[in-house]
């Protein structure tokens, strides 16, 4: 297999693997945040802010893998 075939395969594999685990992480963060908001509705604002912050960290990893996939495909 030549370089172009490998590029295509690795583009798909990079974003597939690199997007799956952050998606799971974001789901877990949201689940715990919603649970906390249900237990203590008064602290919903603080919980929501921390949830958005935590999601930004988790999503950043998915974005890294997306950037690498774009670099592999287009550069």
């Amino acid at each position: 297999m030549d370089a172009n075939t490998w590029k295509l395969i690795m583009t798909g594999a990079t974003i597939a693997l690199g997007g799956a685990v952050p998606a799971l992480a974001i789901g877990l963060i949201t689940a715990k945040a919603v649970e906390a908001m249900g237990r203590n509705p008064e602290a919903a604002g603080d919980v929501r802010t921390s949830m958005i912050l935590g999601m930004a960290f988790a999503e950043a990893i998915a974005i890294y893998s997306l950037v690498i996939a774009l670099i592999i495909k287009f550069v």
Binding site: A56, A60, L70
Partner: protein, 276 residues
């Protein structure tokens, strides 16, 4: 064909300094923000009306939100954090305007080096290589391909801008750490009380450097991937399909601006709270 370029393309030169399409829009974003702030602060009244009250709602909303995140240091941090938020927000949204990324011109590349090397190679293979010579001349001709250069590109879709913003945030974290803790701030990195704290200091150093990369790539990745997504959707089905993706990009642009400024504030808080 779809035009996707990771790097921003130069559209003009001042001397030997290239002006890229994202630099042009960065100037436009600066002009917008400066114009808005000058317009609202010119005849500032104690009892606001009209335009001034709209701006007051915006600034007061930001101030209340950051106060809930940062606490009592909001007064010191607010100018930097609100400026980062407004600059990144306007930069993200200006990349969604019609014409940005679509209006441009075509430029042909002239690779002179490739043609000379193929000529030398052609002369060597005179006996057997008549076919090879023509193939190489053809290859040299297809090298000079026409590429599309958009005139405008969202400022934050350029890695240079996001790395610059990340360096500003990193510098601000160190600056406010020194301002709030004085010389004791260095105890965050160099700490020889016991070997565990020495190792923690090293980890803090590495984590601070990785923050620059993380800030830069989070913002760049979100905005650039959004642009690629919009290009692909417009390429596949131009008329109705891109609409929800435009709404998604509006939302993502807002969230990324919020996340960048909030994370800067939170990291300043964390860095300045290291007592010993």
């Amino acid at each position: 064909m779809l035009h996707i370029s990771l790097a921003a393309e130069p559209i003009a030169h001042i001397g030997s300094f290239p002006i890229t399409n994202s630099l042009a829009l960065t100037w436009l974003v600066m002009a917008i923000l400066i114009f808005l702030s000058v317009a609202v602060s010119r005849n500032i009244k104690f009892i606001p009306s009209g335009f001034q009250s709209i701006m007051e709602v915006l600034i007061d909303g930001l101030h209340t939100f950051f106060e809930s995140v940062v606490g009592h240091q909001v007064k010191m941090l607010f100018p930097l954090i609100a400026s980062l938020f407004l600059f990144i927000l306007v930069s993200n949204w200006i990349g969604l305007l019609p014409g940005v990324g679509t209006v441009g011109f075509f430029r042909t590349e002239q690779p002179t080096e490739v043609t000379t090397s193929s000529e030398a190679h052609g002369e060597k293979e005179q006996t057997t290589g008549h076919l090879e010579e023509t193939a190489e001349v053809q290859a040299a001709e297809t090298e000079s391909e026409v590429e599309f250069i958009p005139l405008f590109r969202g400022p934050t879709a350029d890695l240079n801008t996001t790395i610059a913003l990340a360096l500003v945030a990193f510098g601000a974290i160190q600056f406010f750490g020194f301002k709030l803790l004085g010389k004791k701030y260095t105890a965050r990195f160099v700490n020889f009380k016991n070997p565990i704290m020495g190792f923690v200091g090293l980890l803090e150093l590495v984590s601070d450097v990785s923050k620059v990369i993380s800030f830069a790539f989070r913002l760049f990745g979100n905005v650039f991937a959004g642009e690629v997504l919009l290009s692909v959707m417009a390429f596949l089905m131009p008329f109705v399909a891109p609409m929800p993706f435009l709404a998604l990009e509006l939302f993502v642009g807002f969230i990324q601006a919020l996340v960048f400024s909030t994370l800067t504030a939170v990291f300043v808080n964390v860095a300045a709270s290291h007592e010993g």
